[in-house]
């Protein structure tokens, strides 16, 4: 039994915590989320580099919400999302404890939002080298090539909305795609409607995306749709100096304004 499993067992046995959300070994070398309620199941928990899923999305789900005090095993994506969810009042201080990991593998207990915020400040915010290279590859294309690239990608989308379901920031009880008067997003999946859906998803995440890339990882067709939200996240940083997932009290970039916001295209 490793540190994490021992810790989990202690927490559940103490009776103060009713549920641990973490990762277990999945199929084909991948990790998958696991929900542990009994101390004897604590040995299922793992935490290694395969645990890259953002599981903050489970914190506010109905099935989880009513549980007695929760524990969440968080990677750096999950931590940033928790901070952003806290800023948007979707999770509540003291409702859960976070088990994060120091670089040497030590477990860090984070009980309050303030502690989480402080820990997140020590993490790297921004795209990885590989992600930045993908962004650059597309930005360097000509306009026609970019359109051809995205037209091809969007034509494959089956509108399963796995991107939405996997995103911790997509928590609206009624999403615009479920509204049918007017029908903003077409029901059948054709390229035009798919394009509108992906533009809308990215726009609604402007200034809120923590660039975890979970939408792209969740996509069954492996479309690089995370690049769209990366784009709005990078622009929010560049234009408004707003980085999501860094502060528990910051407003969204698009919910506030500054009279001196500078643009160069309005005549």
């Amino acid at each position: 039994m490793n540190n994490l499993q021992q810790k989990a067992q202690q927490l559940l046995e103490s009776g103060n915590y009713g549920l641990i959300v973490g990762y277990e070994k999945g199929t084909s070398g991948k990790a998958r989320p696991v929900f542990i309620r009994k101390a004897e199941h604590a040995s299922k928990l793992i935490f290694d580099e395969s645990c890259d899923q953002n599981i903050a999305v489970y914190l506010y789900r109905q099935e989880i919400k009513h549980n007695k005090k929760k524990v969440i095993v968080a990677n750096h994506h999950t931590l940033k999302s928790i901070v952003e969810l806290a800023a948007e009042n979707q999770v509540f201080d003291g409702d859960f404890m976070v088990l994060a990991f120091a670089e040497n593998g030590d477990i860090i207990e984070l009980n309050t939002f303030e502690e989480i915020e402080k820990h997140v400040a020590t993490l790297y915010h921004g795209l990885t080298e590989a992600e930045a290279a993908m962004m650059k590859k597309i930005e360097d294309m000509s306009l026609e090539d970019r359109w051809a690239f995205w037209e091809n990608e969007f034509s494959k989308c089956i509108k399963c909305y796995a991107c939405r379901a996997s995103c911790p920031m997509c928590y609206c009880p009624t999403c615009t795609v479920e509204i049918n008067q007017p029908q903003w997003i077409s029901v059948p999946s054709h390229t035009l409607g798919n394009l509108e859906w992906h533009v809308m998803r990215a726009m609604h995440l402007a200034g809120r995306c923590v660039t975890c890339g979970q939408c792209g990882k969740a996509c069954p067709l492996e479309l690089p749709i995370q690049l769209l939200t990366y784009k709005v996240a990078l622009d929010s940083k560049q234009f408004f100096d707003s980085v999501a997932g860094t502060s528990i009290c910051a407003d969204n970039a698009l919910a506030i304004f500054k009279p001196e916001d500078h643009e160069n295209f309005i005549r």
Binding site: I138, E139, L143, E144, D145, R146, W147, A148, F149, W150, E151, T176, W184, S186, P188, H190, T191, L192, G193, L195, E196, H198, V199, M200, A202, M203, A206, G207, L227, L228, K231, V232, D235, S236, F239, F240, A253, L254, F257, K258, P259, D261, E263, F265, I266, R267
Partner: protein
């Protein structure tokens, strides 16, 4: 516009304007008897802050070749800050469209006050010229055609 060449391409232009400044400005253009391009169809909004980006997407999806968006100058908003919020949204939206390969020259943004009737005529004329040069929005029209097979009314 007076044109004898019936084969020349005339862009379909939708203008999203705010009630308090640009709509009144466009009204002034008319009462001042200033002529401007007839390609434009004006849609009146309570405020530029109300102009959702999805409305622009729908304008393109319904065959617009170009879009004009106009409202009160900064600090002149009837609702104090609607245009500031709109400006932030457009900054993000415009770059996102560019990223997916939509020609952002097909959307013209401007501030036109209720006193700027002449500026409105100028904005429309110059935009229509710009859209005419860009030609029909063929890349989008291909998607529209493709979608019509699948949509059942």
């Amino acid at each position: 516009m007076e044109t004898n060449n019936t084969n020349s391409f005339e862009p379909k232009v939708v203008a999203f304007v705010c009630n308090w400044c640009t709509y009144a400005g466009a009204d002034l253009t008319g009462t001042s008897r200033i002529k401007y391009a007839t390609n434009v169809k004006i849609i009146r909004f309570p405020c530029t802050g109300r102009i959702d980006f999805m409305l622009l997407m729908k304008a393109f999806a319904n065959g617009a070749d170009g879009i004009i968006i106009s409202g009160c100058h900064p600090n002149d908003c009837h609702y104090t800050s609607g245009n500031f919020h709109a400006r932030r949204r457009w900054m993000i939206f415009r770059n996102l469209l560019d990223f997916i390969g939509v020609d952002v020259n097909r959307i013209v943004f401007s501030w036109v006050s209720a006193a700027e009737g002449a500026k409105w005529a100028e904005v429309v004329n110059e935009s229509v010229d710009q859209f005419r040069q860009l030609g029909p929005a063929t890349s989008y029209q291909k998607l529209i055609k493709n979608s019509e097979f699948q949509e059942v009314e």
